[in-house]
Amino acid sequence: MATQTAATAVAPAPEAKGTSTRTIALAIVGLLILLAAPFVIYPVFVMKVLCFALFAAAFNLLLGYVGLLSFGHAAFFGGAAYICAYSIKAWNFPPEIAILAGTLFAAALGAVIGYLAIRRQGIYFAMITLALSQMFFFVCLQAPFTGGEDGIQGVPRGKLLGFIDLGDSLAMYYFVAAVFLFGFLAIWRIVNSPFGNILKAIRENEQRAISLGYRVDHYKLGAFVISAALTGLAGAVKAIVFQLASLTDVGWQMSGEVILMTLLGGIGTLVGPVAGAALVVSLENYLATSSFPVPVVIGTIFVACVLMFRRGIVGEINAFLDRKK
């Protein structure tokens, strides 16, 4: 129908209902990997993956479950990173309060941008979010407190709750893992709640949801703000991990990157964006030191994925397993 957005053109494979044994087994394996990862892989790299995985999962809440393709999510990611970094550096906020401040800022910014954008669908929605996020980019470029091209550097990690020294990379890692788990479980709960079902109904047939009596704009705005807040959470934590907030975090390329991660992993699947983020961050990380041109390699993978695996990695695996049932 006319009100369908770009997301529904690549309809996600419906996920299995309930909590199956397979899901529980996968959750336990995932948790074990999360706990063991810093002893096997460089912790800062895994932390980067987790921050971007949360970013992509939050973005997917909007794209995969409401069908809204935002091209401006970098504003929430980078905005929260700036607020978090500045409040630590200038006001000596403890990390947990700085992260909260960044998250709340992203939610507020999400409420403003979402309020203006949700009245339009499809490409118009995407363009409005892009335009507003570019305005925010310009503010970040010009505002004195952001440090312009240099960004805010050397952000102290501080002590979590006053006694856990985040300067220790293992402590920092487990804090990031806990934040990721919190964000991921929040998204899982939302998607499997009555609110989540209404979002899916809006994605599938907005007109029908309205004629059932739902004021869909409120639900879309709610989902937009939640997505922005969780994106902000990821951005704020990332600022502490890397001790840096910069223009890269608010640029349109960052918005494009999270779309890429979500599409590669699988729209409308919970684990897909996590897999997509891991793939893209790994490629960027490991190809950076090689002679391969990273954007070309990622672009080629993206084109191959769109042509051959439109459901994304996890979407294709889910579809394969469903066929085997």
Binding site: N197, I198, A201, R208, L212
Partner: protein, 234 residues
């Protein structure tokens, strides 16, 4: 006769620049089943869509329980107790039967409980964990009706509920509508299947080219058969 539950006066509607409804009048009283008859393109579905508000470019008066609902946005109309089951059924494919039934907001007291729904539609009880996409056409139609019954809507607008269904399923849908009538539900039905319509309706309206050209009670049907043969091509 009591005050009509739903009253439409001089309803006109447009698809873009095309003027498709030309002053439609109809009334539906509490507990009645009223059927709109007419050939393809007569304006029956457009009338329902204009009443619920899916078509926004319209003029006239639409009163539900004495309140003019024409200026209200679509979601408000639904909350005032007008339940609409579209021709394409509008089942949410990614949700299962149970989730589809749990989805609608309650607009008034008197909505059917899940037990009542599963008693009325035993097929749905058997398939409560099936995805919307995996239901047959008949099951989808039953789910679409059941979903509206959950809301407690006062008036049901059913758009061609038998479209594309096997005769045995059509009979089942007819049984359901009669059961709803016995419960006192008010129904405005659009139907091309005349045999089906005459089984369930108390009154008929006949439409042609966006005009209401005739109306009569079920007990007057025998005397109208010749003109209906001509109008509907029966």
């Amino acid at each position: 006769m009591t005050e009509p539950l739903l009253e439409v006066k001089g309803l006109q509607a447009w698809y873009g620049e095309s003027h498709v409804l030309h002053g439609v009048d109809l009334t539906v009283h509490k507990g009645e089943t009223v059927t709109l008859l007419g050939r393809n393109g007569a304006g029956k579905t457009t009338t329902l869509k204009s009443i619920i508000g899916v078509i926004r470019k319209r003029q006239g008066q639409i009163s539900l329980k004495g309140t003019n609902i024409l200026p209200l946005p679509l979601h408000h109309v639904a909350k005032r107790g007008l339940g609409y089951v579209p021709e394409e059924r509008g089942i949410f494919a990614s949700l299962d039967v149970h989730e589809n039934l749990m989805l609608p907001p309650k607009v008034a007291e008197g909505g059917f409980s899940l037990d009542e729904i599963y008693t009325l539609f035993p097929n749905l009880a058997e398939r409560r964990r099936s995805q919307g996409t995996k239901l047959s056409g008949g099951e989808q139609q039953m789910l679409a009706i059941a979903r509206i019954l959950r809301t407690g809507a006062d008036v049901l607008l059913l758009d061609e509920p038998t479209e594309g269904l096997a005769p045995v399923i059509v009979q089942r849908i007819g049984d359901v509508i009669r059961a709803l009538k016995e419960k006192g539900m008010t129904i405005l039905l659009v139907e091309q299947n005349f045999r089906f319509a005459r089984r369930v309706a108390d009154r008929f309206y006949v439409m042609e080219d966006g005009h209401m050209i005739d109306s009569f009670r079920a007990d007057e049907l025998a005397g109208r058969m010749d003109s209906l043969h001509e109008t509907l091509g029966l």
